[in-house]
Symmetry: C2
């Protein structure tokens, strides 16, 4: 019944190493060494290195998406009851806040956000199938909600602006370390709540811009 923790140990080690060093730079031998399991255990439990990446992602993406979708549906229900369309900021917040908040949790969950951001930028094949399966239902609902919140936007404009906003969010998901161009008096390690508001200020204004 209770499964041996081999799978869990592999998942934990892989999550941390993938996020820290990148998917390609992490060898299975390095993962199995850190997890103190045999090399072949990866292929036995997961089938391949790429399938392991998917398992690592899905483990955290599923509950995260449930939270995001739950908050979105709750918002839509409230707006329906009050006969008011939801605001663009409220809609975006249901997506952005759970995402960025995960970064400040225990280290392994923060790793996950970085990993997602990086994997989103991978060439197709590795990430595309994973995200198509697990993100599409949520994204479709987000589309509908934003279409309600921004009735003045054409389908075309709405699509492109969501595209821009997603790109921006995925960027801050993976880039949260000090790099060369940060002025001295700028805080790169902003508290999550402030970062969420900063991002929403930017994204909402972009979404609502005159077209």
């Amino acid at each position: 019944m209770s499964p041996p923790d081999t799978k869990q140990r592999i998942l934990d080690a892989a999550e941390h190493l993938f996020a820290t060093d990148g998917y390609h730079a992490t060898s299975l031998r390095c993962i199995t060494h850190a997890a103190m399991v045999n090399l072949a255990a990866v292929n036995y439990h997961f089938g391949s290195k790429e399938a392991l990446l998917e398992a690592v992602i899905v483990r955290r993406l599923t509950p995260l998406n449930e939270m995001r979708l739950g908050q979105l549906e709750a918002l839509l229900q409230r707006s329906e009851q009050s006969r008011q369309v939801p605001s663009c900021r409220e809609v975006l917040r249901t997506f952005v806040e759970p995402t960025l908040r995960q970064r400040q949790n225990g280290s392994e969950k923060g790793d996950f956000v970085t990993l997602i951001g990086r994997t989103l930028a991978e060439p197709r094949g590795i990430a595309m199938t994973i995200f198509m399966r697990h993100m599409d239902p949520l994204m479709i609902r987000l589309y509908q909600a934003l279409s309600l919140a921004l009735p003045g936007l054409s389908q075309q404009l709405l699509f492109w602006r969501i595209h821009f906003a997603v790109g921006s969010l995925s960027h801050i998901m993976r880039c949260h370390e000090r790099h060369s161009l940060v002025p001295e008096d700028v805080r790169i390690d902003l508290p999550v709540d402030e970062l969420v508001e900063l991002f929403l200020d930017f994204a909402v204004a972009g979404m609502e811009a005159a077209g």
Copy 2:
């Protein structure tokens, strides 16, 4: 004197294959086969696979940055002569338009934009050193220009909003293929000029948002 075209043939083949299949998925043997040169020629001329990637990027990034910096300096000079601060849209345009316009040129130059977008998202080591060396001077000038255009913004706000805008741009640099969530009546292959204006509408509104 005139170098044999071995280096050029390697650069051309690598640029296309890196952009099409991704850096890690492209083997040196595949590159040298396409370039019709010996495997060891890569390490002789460039030193390593990663150094080859840098050479591929620098070859096109240098003239692109010269164009972006040239347009920015010209704008700043005009604004100084007219005693008017440049607009945020004008400043951003000097960066965005040359970038996206390169995508529609000959196929190999379009490859390059995709490659840049992807490399920007790589974990540190591969890309960080390349971009620090070749982007920082331009980015510093962009900072100054945007600081002029948006005098109401604090250093902190300016930094974060540039961060958001760069993330958004890098996203559309690498993602310009049809994916699952594109509605039927949305054009994913927008003409470059329209895409530039669409992006500027979004980014300028985000930059100028009330803080």
